[in-house]
């Protein structure tokens, strides 16, 4: 059966509206029963996801972005994300043939030596096909037509919905940020550039980054070398040893900080779908749809702040740095202190927790994401009506890292912090 996208603003509006109605009902129920808050939030998250899932297409991606903003989600919630990921409408053979012809000027059988018309993997807003040319195995990512256009209409609906949900809080910057990321993610030319950049600059024999074939790529088609490996779920199902898992976690952790401090770029999407577990402990990085550049000045301040956090500097000095970084709005000292202690401190305490000691075992601290999840909701309950625009680069780094921590916890892996802390100290 066909997975037709609900088209037109009206039908999409209906789905969003329905979800808002359901949320309203849940909220009322909570007031009546005064039940477990966390459970209720999970239910609300469920409803939002259901609605976004029903919208399909771009909205699935938006849902993922929302999830990225809140990395500590209960496992059930994360499962929903991966399910919705598969709900992106598949591109049938007729359409694949048409897209390749439009984008590359040739039909698949002429552009490649062989081309599998059935996709082997889903990708962000598209799907990936196996092909060969000049005896090489290639992965060809194809994007569904019209995605770029529907971002706009979807986002305006989400904006409308979020505004009601946010109870007067300004959400424009969040929406703007998500929209920008979506536009970046649908631009395969940009992704090709980022992929080539990382391939050229990551100097680690255990990190494998595919080679881009520009002649066989366009804005909506991206051809790279094919990497043979397991995705996260299959890898975990293959019962890897503790040592193997620890090595992978360490590799992901160290590479993230290496890219941050040396290349000034981060792969800002901690979705496990972006990793491939290859033979001999090698790790494939395969999706460069969300790469962020960080500025020197920012990085210097960011680094200093985190070193000071690890050294347990006093709150006043920390607050000053947060103000410089644009994470705390300049107000009276008392207001800033309250805001820091109520909102920011719980978050940065959690964020730095794995970095404090020489190593951190996520198997022992297997409630890391649960605590994070509860803490974020607690912070949200406090209802600070802030219209302050937070520093984007800051958010990206911490979000991504927290996403990785959630992944490490899922792996039950242990990481050592020596290399990373050394990078931080050297950067100073």
């Amino acid at each position: 059966m066909d997975n037709a996208l609900p088209t037109g603003k009206l039908s999409r509006g209906k789905v969003v509206g329905k979800a808002l109605l359901k949320i309203g009902a849940k909220k009322t129920k909570r007031f009546v029963t005064n039940g477990d808050k966390t459970q209720n939030h999970e239910a609300i998250a469920d409803i939002i996801f259901d609605a976004l899932g029903e919208l399909k297409g771009v909205s699935v991606k938006i849902a993922q972005q929302v999830a990225l903003g809140m990395p500590f989600l209960p496992p059930a919630y994360l499962e929903k994300i991966s399910k919705s990921f598969n709900a992106i409408p598949s591109i049938n053979k007729a359409l694949v043939r048409k897209i390749i012809k439009t984008e590359l000027g040739l039909y698949p059988q002429d552009a490649f030596e062989s081309f599998e018309m059935t996709a082997f993997a889903a990708a962000s807003l598209g799907q990936v096909h196996l092909a060969t040319k000049d005896g090489k195995q290639l992965a060809v990512k194809v994007q569904y037509p019209g995605i770029k256009k529907s971002i706009e209409s979807d986002m305006s609906l989400i904006h409308f919905g979020m505004k009601r949900f946010a109870k007067g809080q300004n959400v424009d910057h969040i929406i703007g940020e998500i929209e920008e990321r979506l536009y970046e993610e649908v631009d395969y030319v940009l992704e090709a550039k980022n992929c080539a950049f990382f391939r050229e600059n990551i100097d680690n024999k255990n990190i494998i980054i595919p080679k881009v074939y520009p002649a066989l790529s366009s804005e909506k088609v991206l051809t790279t070398s094919f990497l043979e490996g397991l995705n996260f779920d299959s890898y975990m199902a293959s019962n890897p040893t503790q040592e193997e898992k620890d090595n992978y976690a360490q590799l992901i952790f160290d590479t993230f900080f290496y890219a941050l401090y040396t290349l000034k770029h981060i792969h800002a999407d901690p979705n496990p779908g972006n990793f491939l577990f290859l033979e001999n402990g090698k790790l494939g990085l395969i999706d460069f749809g969300c790469v962020k550049r960080v500025e020197d000045d920012f990085l210097t301040q960011y680094n200093q702040l985190h070193l000071n956090l690890l050294e347990e500097d006093d709150d006043q000095s920390i607050i000053k740095q947060y103000v410089t970084l644009g994470m705390i709005e300049e107000q009276t000292e008392e207001e800033m202190l309250t805001f820091y202690r109520e909102i920011i401190k719980p978050l940065d305490t959690l964020y730095k927790e794995p970095l404090v000691g020489e190593c951190y075992d996520f198997k022992v601290n297997n409630d890391f994401s649960k605590r994070g999840f509860e803490m974020i909701f607690e912070v949200q309950q406090k209802q600070f009506h802030s219209v302050h625009k937070l520093n984007e680069q800051f958010l990206f780094i911490n979000r991504t890292l927290l996403g990785y921590y959630a992944l490490f916890e899922k792996m039950g892996a242990k990481i050592e912090t020596g290399y990373v802390k050394n990078l931080m100290k050297e950067y100073r």
Binding site: M1, D2, N3, A4, L5, T7, N92, K93, A94, L95, R97, K98, K101, T102, Y107, Q109, M117, P145, G146, K149
Partner: protein, 245 residues
């Protein structure tokens, strides 16, 4: 001297292409067969041998594109693994792809068919034999392979599909989206819907419902008419008056 079939075919394609170019340049009304002949490098009698009129040339163009599209489909190695919907979608996408280089020409034709009186829609039907045959074959194979159940009005399906195709072309002519991706989406979604209907057996259920009404109510009324001869002939008389003024 006998001209071989393939040489004839080559000349025909040459004339068609120069005709299309000339029509794009000068417009259908101002482009003469004489000039087309000159551009194609053939004599005047030759062009009249191939195309007695400009209209005939136009229909030949459309037939030629059907031929090319089907030839392109035959080049797809695993076409038999495509679902019926994918096969139909590929057929239309391929035709549109072929039209793309002559888009301005197609726009003129569409204008003439849908707005001005120059061309009759009905005339276009004469060009669709190959298209309908191909669709009919795809349909037969899908039914035989039990991909879909035999739909009611099976024999009318290919013609209906051709009407649908004309509608898609009309949409494409007006489509100003980037890379005509709106047409691609319209095609994808509408065929998706058609596929869902065919798979759900909804058509035959709808026709069952229709038959039920017809048999139990319409048939009854008809029989009543038939038995009441008097009133029946009265109605006939009335109808005659209306029809013949």
């Amino acid at each position: 001297m006998k001209i071989t079939q393939s040489a004839k075919e080559k000349t025909k394609i040459k004339i068609l292409q120069s005709a299309v170019d000339l029509i794009i340049e000068k417009g259908f009304d101002n482009a003469s067969l004489r000039e087309m002949a000159k551009n194609a490098g053939v004599s005047n009698p030759t062009i009249y041998n191939y195309f007695p009129s400009k209209e005939k040339l136009l229909y030949a163009y459309i037939e030629q594109k059907h031929k090319e599209a089907i030839a392109s489909l035959q080049e797809i190695e695993d076409f038999q693994t495509y679902t019926l919907r994918e096969q139909l979608q590929t057929l239309i996408e391929t035709e549109l792809e072929l039209y793309l280089e002559d888009r301005e020409f197609i726009i003129q034709i569409a204008d003439m068919v849908f707005h001005a009186s120059g061309l009759k829609m009905g005339k276009l039907y004469e060009t669709n034999a190959l298209f309908i045959e191909t669709v009919d074959e795809m349909l037969s194979i899908a039914i035989e392979a039990e991909e879909i159940a035999e739909p009611p009005f099976r024999e009318h399906m290919p013609k209906l599909f051709w009407d649908y195709y004309i509608m898609v072309v009309a949409y494409w002519v007006k489509d100003d989206s980037e890379m005509f991706e709106n047409t691609t989406q319209l095609l994808d979604h509408s065929l998706g819907l058609a596929e869902a209907v065919l798979h759900s057996d909804m058509l035959s259920k709808a026709s069952d419902l229709g038959m039920f009404f017809f048999k139990t109510h319409m048939l009854n009324s008809l029989q009543k008419f038939a038995t009441k001869k008097e009133s029946f002939s009265k109605i006939k008389r009335k109808l005659g008056e209306v029809l013949h003024g």
